[in-house]
Amino acid sequence: MIRVLLAKPGIDGHDVGVKIVARALRDAGMEVIYTGLRSTIPDVARAAVQEDAQVVGVSNLSAQHVAMMCELKAEMAQAGGEDILLIAGGSLLQQDITALREMGIDGCFPPGTNTSEIISFIRDRVPAETATA
């Protein structure tokens, strides 16, 4: 079963999207850990490694993706989670998506994304055989 940790670091409270994604991934047979609101990036990185997550999704609606993902990447590396797939969702501008892709984060999902797109993106990159049981 693919293990996904979804997080909303920072103080932005818009969580309709992340909750919808959480349900969709769970309904698709993934194990979802949603860390709730007002977490910090170091907390997210620690939780991801502790929980053996294979995917970490960060949701934000206040245009902070690039700064957040930068920090998260560094924290993940430090916590020994550099192989964990990172994805981002929320109000992403084209310039953010470009910047994130340059950082190697290809999973960028703006509002209106069909959740099946997110599911196949994850499945394509985290094949079931390497997923922990």
Binding site: I11, D15, V16, K19, Y34, G36, S62, S91, G112, T115
Partner: protein
Amino acid sequence: MPQTIAGPVTPVAGAAQAAPAFRTASGIPVAPLYDARSQLDWDPAQKLGSPGEYPYTRGPHPTMYRTRPWTRRQVVGLGTAVETNARNKYVLAHGQTGISNDYDVPTLIGLDSDDLRAKGEVGRTGVAIDTLRDMHDLFDGIDLEGISVSMTINHPAFVLVAQYVAAAQERGFRLDRLGGTVQNDPLKDFYAQKTYIFPPAPSVKLSCDLIEYCTRHMPRWNGISLNGYNIREAGSTADQELAFTFAHAIAYIEDLLGRGLDIDTITGRFSFIFNVHNDFLEEIAKLRAARRMWAHLLHERFGADPSRTKLRMHVQTGGSTMTYQQPEVNLIRGALQSMAGALGGVQSMAVSCFDEAYSIPSEKAQRLSLRTQQVVAHESGVTNVVDPLAGSYYVESLTDEVERRAHEWLAKVDEQGGAISAVESGWLEQVISDTAHVQQLEIMSNQRVVVGVNEYLDHEGEQDIETFRVDEASEVEQVRRLQEVKQFRSDGDVAQSLERVQEAVASGENVMPHVIAAVQAYATQGEIISKVISVCGEHTAPAIY
């Protein structure tokens, strides 16, 4: 009072009613045709009355827009108070008749701009307010007795209104002449906007301290604006939006009555903000049902005088209906929603901007939202007559049905022990999440068509809009402004005034006079909130999905 519901016409035998089932956006089944048979038991005198008369279904005023056009009030707020002041003046110069400010997330949750947790969020999605200095700058050069001001702030509302009162008085304006509204509806924040601070029960108490203060000292000021908008944005249906908004109202009213205030005194200054979503006729029906339901609720449940049960509302068109895909199409959505608001009989309106899914609005987007409602107001002709859709078989059926469903939800909240308990247990959050999930499944399966999102896709030129970005320098500037204040104020006065705030919270007395004294001493918002937290504690949200 039992409601006689005007039902849909039974389909004629033989007329195949093949799938798909026709439903409103909120899931109410819709018949192919409504006619006189739909309304056999329907009594217009009881259901509608005249405009300006109980139960106000047709509107709170007898002549509506013929004598009082709705206030065109687009929301503004970004960066520092100085920057937002310039925007406030810009919208006033463009024909807006009231000011409405949004605050940044740190301000909404009681953090000062120099708090580490605020980093990156200062001034980003609203204006940053830390001290009285910011409130002075926000309204500099604006005649506070000549306009109405709307403050979209909830948990820290008692601090921001204290700052507004102090700023206005220092400039020589009289409290009894200040017109405006503060949202001050913390209950919905626990499961809708998520800008909570204290636990639900003390939040209601502080909110009611402010309402009580306004009731006694600011007769032209609405001390609360009950917010259904955010409940809808979180994914509710139209009927849940009404039910939960009124459930919150009941919690505040019960607290205020417990203080010995009179129902007819307090509710006269209650105002509301509702959403105007996509389903045109359902939204009109909802706004009409809202007025009738509120009037009945106040009169029948609390014994209010019928003349004091008028529901006055601001609406904002649904921000979450503004799609990321093909954003210009949102202008058309905004126009239809604005028209529904007008036909629903609103007193004030904001049209969400077409770039909502990207960022806070650009000046162009803001101007187009204002122009949208100006076109509806001046060119469409719908404002010439009061409640033009009254008597429509379908609209009246739908008005009855939205109200009936809202009553069912309200009864469920009562079964949960009222709004405070239903928030504490996470019940309300679960209900909204479930509803949002159903809607999402409908979009995924194309049962619910969203143009540009699941049908009529067009990736070409998708993001060819100019978006607004707050200058990163604003955050640095705001932190600098705050440091300056901390230099010139008297630390002794601040400490002493904060001590009194803490004592007032602990003793249960009304905190407002003490909070006003603290802001006058230039205590920061964050310092005052921290004192309250030290007594009331902090809320932790359940991670329900």
